[in-house]
């Protein structure tokens, strides 16, 4: 399984955000997207997530992971992606468990049980606390737990570690490593070194685009 982006461009409000972007990411690899504020990192991730229409180009997932469901190829690309945006996609009035149970039920392929996922993000005791009562960092960790309760091979992460302390950052890097070892693909816009092997990096720059492989 590998993700291929060919000649991707995005135009918003008449302005070209990026153009002619092509890259390929294999199973078990991560792409770290960096660039100054406003360079189009979020736009790129939203285009890949299918939330914005690209001006040109396309994104596709070739091949099938082992043990994939029979209708794997019939799904749209974005159905293979978990997207962690700036917002946490959780309801403050519902408890942590209710929120996670909802997202788990909405997806076809459940992965970890909710207590297990909470254990993985280091917040096992908070299942019954309303999401609105949590601190910024805790909220972020719960929304990271959302990525774990159902299985989707591609993770699109937009500033995933915003609001996290250094310990939680390390923990999150560990979760990403596990996902890559399971044959996943990660695209992350972040400035924090995540200490991952098998990474490519993409430097977004409004004038020029540099794509280098480490």
């Amino acid at each position: 399984m590998h993700l291929v982006v060919t000649d991707l461009s995005a135009i918003r409000g008449g302005e070209v955000i990026f153009s002619g972007l092509s890259f390929r990411i294999n199973e078990g690899e991560a792409l770290i997207i960096t660039g100054h504020n406003g360079s189009g990192k979020s736009t790129l991730l939203r285009v890949i997530a299918g939330l914005l229409t690209p001006a040109t180009g396309e994104v596709c997932l070739n091949g099938k992971p082992e043990g994939a469901s029979p209708d794997f190829d019939d799904r749209k690309f974005y159905e293979h992606c978990h997207y962690l945006g700036h917002e946490n996609a959780m309801k403050p009035a519902l408890s942590v468990e209710e929120n996670l149970r909802f997202w788990r039920a909405m997806d076809d392929e459940p992965h970890l049980e909710i207590p297990e996922a909470l254990e993985m993000v280091g917040l096992p005791a908070l299942a019954h606390v309303p999401f609105g009562h949590l601190s910024t960092g805790q909220k972020r960790r719960i929304s990271i737990a959302r990525l774990l309760v159902s299985w989707r091979p591609v993770w699109l992460l937009d500033e995933p570690t915003a609001g996290l302390d250094t310990g939680s950052e390390r923990q999150f890097a560990e979760l990403m490593k596990i996902h890559l070892e399971d044959g996943g693909i990660i695209l992350a816009a972040t400035h924090i070194p995540l200490g991952l092997k098998n990474t490519q990096s993409l430097v977004m720059n409004t004038a020029t685009m540099v794509d280098e492989t480490q």
Binding site: R46, A49, G50, L51, L52, T53, R75, K76, Y78, E79, C81, Y83, G85, H86, E87, N88, A89, M90, K91, P92, A93, L94, E98, R101, F102, W103, A105, M106, D107, D108
Partner: protein, 219 residues
Amino acid sequence: MIALFLRDVRLSWRAGGGALTGVMFFLAVVMVVPFGVGPDLNLLARIGPAMLWLGALLASLLGLDRLFQADREDGSLDILLMNGTPMAAIVFIKCAAHWVTTGLPLVIAAPLFGLFMNMPPLAIAATMATLVAGTPAITFVGAVGAAVTVALPRGGLLLAILVLPWTIPVLIFGVSAAYGAVEDPAPFTEPFIVLVAISLFFAVIGSLGAGAVLRHSDH
């Protein structure tokens, strides 16, 4: 899908959900009518079905602006859009949950408010039946308005203006069916069937329309 329905129902009963806002507004409208038109009991009984329908229509419009806006603000809408389920189905479920938590309480409160208007039992029953059949149409038309105004910070008023013209047929057939039940030459069945048809029609068109608008709203 059941999970989405249950989540929305649960949310509307939790803090900030506003499940009872509509009923309180409905009560306010019906309560001030007798003060406005005077204590003529026959007149109140005559205009009762129309007043209940007006109250229910305006109350239904109240919470509609939050139908998708709340999900958009906290990022849930993005995740729902990335779900395999067609957006029209998601809109349909959200509308169903919205109607159960805001439309159904109006129907249940209608008999009590009918008493305020000195309506005979048959007229109350007929008004309840027309509200059950007609208020879903308001929710589904409103869904399109809610989808169009989802990105606007004060979209509520615009939504009401956009949606109100489309609800006029619902109001006309709802009130005429309710009158048909009590006033002899006027028919009940025919306008009632048209009312049901309008609801079914908008359930399809509204879900598809709002789904398409939401899918392309950021583009």
